[in-house]
């Protein structure tokens, strides 16, 4: 790192904040992200919480991390390695130091590198004494504890309370290094502590002290700027996937002109959808925290039967429990949205980690021939749009739809381009009107959807249920040919949804040596890795599937235009199995099943093994 007095301009920076669960790392991570967003950077964030609610202070499994990547160009992932690591204690140091790039800034709170904390992290001697780190990194040692106590002197706060602001002091330091405005954070502090002036003052002092300390630090003499990114013009907000998804649900219901009903049972990492929607009461959203996942989907089905848009959100174990009821929704052909925010499995598995191993469950995890469309958002912001698309499918085709998100998308955030209201096309749900000789299973010619006959409408009284039924009348019918017809119709109806897809976008040439196919949250890592390979002049393209079932009609031609097909997945090759069976192509998979997203580099390296 050279030392000049003039800020140098950088393309992008990755900062990882790491400390104890109580150290407020998520908070400063979010502040840095928002400030950078307001500065016009593109950004991507990834929080990494401990599994425990409050793990014992100072232990490695109690470390809470937050990574933010901000850039003057379009980016797709929170980054593999970081340029800056803030380590608030030895445990955070231990867990995260491997992620720091050589030459990166290693900002360490020496105030917590005492015997007790070292021991809790499993160190016999302080790692700071290890010359390796000094040589490899730009090690910035600072006792944030004394610094912050010093900084807030005069506010009247006890030392114990003062210590709470040490994260803000560290934030101030990084604001100086990256030439960030203090204003957004000052504003935020003012709102948050409007009723606690002493705390507010302390935090403001800590923030400014951080700036001062950085300015005067020998080690941090370089200031950098990161120019705004060439983002599409428009208004943006920084949204986590679950937040975007929740907004998408509200928007989708509004576009369908339907009341939204969420039946849900809390489960990590899906609970936030319940939390967000519960706040939207003034949008008329009904949330129902059920006694279990079965009751949650059951209530959602009941709500759909009675004319609302029923939604249920859960993770893998909850999907397992809901699978019987999904069959009922398929048989009764009611609109329903089932959201699976995937986490590490099997069983309770790694409940706070990410994985994509529920795809085959989504496609085939029900008894009988029980087809359900499956859609997977590819990024945090795409959750918004995918939710709307899923609702549209559900309502227009009278079918349950599965939306597959995952923990990395759900908790990660990126700038969300607020769509133009006019760009959001309305698709008002059609409900059957009073008529003579109403036939609850008479189908629409184009979509094969049956009519939605809502209780309260005179003349439409009818009975439905899970037994096989006669097409048209909907009466119970066990006759052999009718069953075959109905199995066929339920399948055809879902297959026809593929007619509504936009053409697939191939990133790169339309044909060539290698096509990388992905789905879901691997989008960013694949796209970046392919871009890097392309810039080597390699003939590699990328197609990302948002619609997993039915498969896009143009997929086959695209696949056949490449010599090789590579499918990176956070599972043991589930999409791989589908594409092999559908298209008989000798595609190969690349699996990572570690509860962690792919790094761009990993995919890039794997691509290189193919060339």
């Amino acid at each position: 790192m050279t030392q000049t007095a003039q800020p140098t301009s950088l393309d992008e920076v990755v900062i990882r904040f790491a400390g104890d669960s109580g150290d407020g790392m998520q908070l400063v991570g979010n502040q840095f992200s928002n400030t950078s967003a307001l500065a016009g950077n593109d950004l991507s964030t990834f929080p990494d919480y401990p599994a425990e609610i409050r793990a014992p202070v100072g232990t490695t499994f109690g470390v809470s991390g937050f990574q933010v990547r901000f850039a003057s160009k379009k980016i797709h992932t929170p980054g593999d390695h970081c340029d800056v690591l803030v380590a608030m204690n030895p445990a955070a140091f231990k867990v995260h130091v491997e992620a720091l790039k050589p030459g990166g800034i290693l900002l360490v709170n020496t105030g917590n590198f005492d015997g007790k904390n070292l021991k809790k992290a499993g160190y016999e001697t302080s790692p700071l004494e290890d010359m390796r780190y000094k040589e490899q990194f730009n090690l910035v040692e600072i006792n944030l504890n004394t610094a912050v106590i010093h900084a807030v002197e005069g506010t009247g706060l006890s030392s114990k309370d003062a210590l709470r602001s040490k994260n803000i002091l560290a934030l101030g330091m990084l604001y100086w290094v990256y030439s960030r405005s203090l204003e957004p954070t000052e504003q935020w502090l003012k709102e948050k502590f409007s009723k606690k002036p002493m705390v507010l003052e302390a935090n403001l002092k800590a923030l400014h002290a951080g700036v001062k300390i950085a300015e005067n630090s020998e080690l941090l003499q370089t200031q950098h700027t990161i120019a705004p990114a060439p983002l599409e013009a428009g208004a943006y907000k920084n949204l986590m996937g679950n937040a975007a998804l929740s907004m998408g649900l509200v928007a989708g219901a509004e576009l369908a002109e339907l009341p939204l009903f969420l039946g849900s049972y809390p489960i990590t990492p899906a609970s936030d959808i319940l939390h967000y929607l519960a706040r939207y009461k003034n949008y008329g959203v009904v949330t129902f925290q059920a006694e279990d996942e079965i009751a949650a989907i059951a209530a959602a089905i009941g709500a759909s039967f009675s004319g609302s848009l029923g939604v249920t959100a859960t993770s893998g174990p909850g999907i397992a429990l809901k699978s019987e009821a999904m069959g009922l929704a398929v048989m009764t052909e009611l609109p329903l949205l089932v959201i699976n925010v995937q986490r590490g499995g099997p069983s309770t598995g790694l409940p706070t980690k990410t994985e994509q191993a529920d795809l085959l469950q989504a496609l085939f995890g029900r008894h009988g021939e029980c087809p359900v469309p499956v859609i997977a958002p590819y990024s945090s912001s795409d959750c918004f749009h995918a939710a709307i698309e899923a609702i549209k499918m559900a309502v227009q085709y009278m079918t349950p739809v599965i939306l597959l998100s995952d923990a990395s998308i759900a908790n990660g955030a990126e700038p969300f381009l607020i769509p133009d209201l006019d760009s959001l096309e309305k698709f008002p749900a059609q409900k059957a009107k009073t008529e003579e000789n109403f036939m609850p299973y008479r189908r629409d010619e184009k979509t094969l959807a049956r009519p939605w006959a809502v209780p309260g409408t005179p003349g439409l009284e009818h009975r439905i249920g899970g037994l096989e039924k006669s097409d048209g009348s909907g009466d119970i019918d066990y006759s052999p040919k009718n069953h075959e017809t109905m199995v066929g119709l339920r399948n055809d109806k879902v297959q026809r949804i593929a007619n509504t897809y936009a053409p697939l976008a191939v990133y790169g040439e339309d044909q060539g040596d290698l096509l990388v196919v992905g789905w879901g949250s691997t989008y960013g890592a694949i796209r970046s890795a392919v871009r890097n390979a392309q810039s080597n002049g390699q003939s590699v393209s990328h197609v990302h599937l948002r619609n997993l079932w039915p498969l896009p009609l143009d997929l086959q031609d695209i696949l056949k235009s490449f010599s090789k097909v590579l499918i990176p997945e956070m599972n043991s090759g589930q999409l791989l199995r589908i594409l092999r069976s559908e298209y008989l192509i000798d595609a190969v998979g690349y699996s990572k099943i570690q509860g962690q997203p792919f790094a761009t580099q990993e995919i890039y390296d794997h691509i290189q093994t193919i060339f």
């Binding site: 599409e232 279990d292 089905i301 709500a303 309260g456």
Partner: protein
């Protein structure tokens, strides 16, 4: 409003497929008669059931009906009612459907007080699956799955519902038509979750299990009918009565009988009189055990929505998208 429905308006075009002699026929007919009397537009009825012989009920009623999956009717009905509180929601279920696989949903619907009327056809057997013992079968019952006799203690559906906090709890008998109709009517009139256990005879797999309580000759001396504000009397000539004492329930002469109070907030006496049924000395209570209203969940949900909307203003797509911290890129 007077819709002057007849029973036949609530008869659907489907052939009824219960065994000849099944108690379900009488219940269906009684319910259809009650429906006709209620003066509620036919299209506002939603009858939800699970799986079982009893759960075939919706097919036979000319209203909106939903024959769902085993055990989940109370949960599905909760969704129907909370999403659309204008509907008149009924649940028809069996002892297996409601108390075995569906036990959790029914106790939760009860405590939440979702406004629906539950008719539980208790025949103490799994009829549809050809006769296994159920959670209400007497110990020692021999069935396909218990060839040497069942071993577990049954539930008392009434105490289970009282323990769960149900606001309206009643019991009636498939062969006592006027009683059945009056209890179903009272259950429906109650605003909230109302639960009616109907003792129902399965002629095929558990014929006559209630004979000792319900047979014509002995019925009057083996049953006591709980009617709010009426004395607790029974016997062929209503000559006997029941009295609550500090030491428990006592059989007394009719003129010393206590007056039944189904509206006691704490349901302690309902619980106590229920327990007496385990003891052959006492008559078996039917009628209305408990009936205390409280706010329903469905009403509260919509009240909270209204209140929040008033406070925060009605949300729109614009307010949704524009909320929180926002920044602009380019000329916008």
């Amino acid at each position: 409003m007077s819709l002057s429905y007849k029973k036949k308006d609530f008869v659907s075009d489907q052939d009824v497929r219960w065994c000849p002699g099944c108690g379900d026929y009488a219940i269906l007919s009684a319910a259809q008669q009650v429906f006709a009397k209620l003066d509620i537009p036919k299209e506002n009825f939603v009858v939800v059931s699970g799986i079982g012989c009893s759960s075939r009920f919706p097919y036979y009623v000319n209203t909106f009906g939903f024959h769902t999956i085993h055990g989940r009717a109370p949960a599905i009905a909760s969704g129907v009612k909370i999403a659309n509180p204008d509907l008149d929601v009924w649940v028809v279920t069996g002892d297996g459907d409601a108390l075995s696989i569906g036990g959790n949903h029914i106790i939760h619907a009860a405590r939440r007080n979702v406004n629906m009327t539950v008719l539980l056809f208790n025949n103490r057997i799994y009829g549809l699956t050809k006769g296994q013992y159920s959670p209400t079968s007497d110990p020692g019952t021999k069935t396909g799955s218990t060839p040497y006799g069942s071993l577990d203690t049954p539930f008392n559906p009434i105490t289970l519902m009282l323990g769960a906090g149900a606001g309206f709890v009643a019991r009636t008998v498939d062969t006592q038509i006027p009683h059945m109709k009056s209890v179903i009517e009272a259950a429906h009139a109650y605003q909230g979750f109302s639960f009616v256990e109907i003792l129902q005879n399965c002629v095929i797999f558990a014929d006559k299990v209630f004979e000792h309580i319900t047979e014509k000759g002995i019925r009057d001396s083996r049953q006591v009918n709980l009617m709010h504000g009426e004395p607790l009397v029974y016997g062929n000539d209503l000559e006997k009565g029941l009295q609550f004492t500090a030491d428990g329930l006592k059989i007394v002469a009719a003129d010393q009988a206590d007056t039944w109070d189904a509206q006691q907030r704490d349901a302690a006496k309902a619980y106590q009189i229920c327990q007496s049924q385990e003891n052959g000395e006492f008559p078996v209570p039917i009628g209305i055990f408990h009936s205390v209203e409280r706010a329903t969940l469905d009403a509260q949900v919509h009240a909270q929505i209204a209140e929040t909307t008033e406070k925060l203003g009605k949300g729109s797509l614009t307010s949704l998208l524009q909320s929180g911290e926002i920044w602009n890129v380019g000329e916008k």
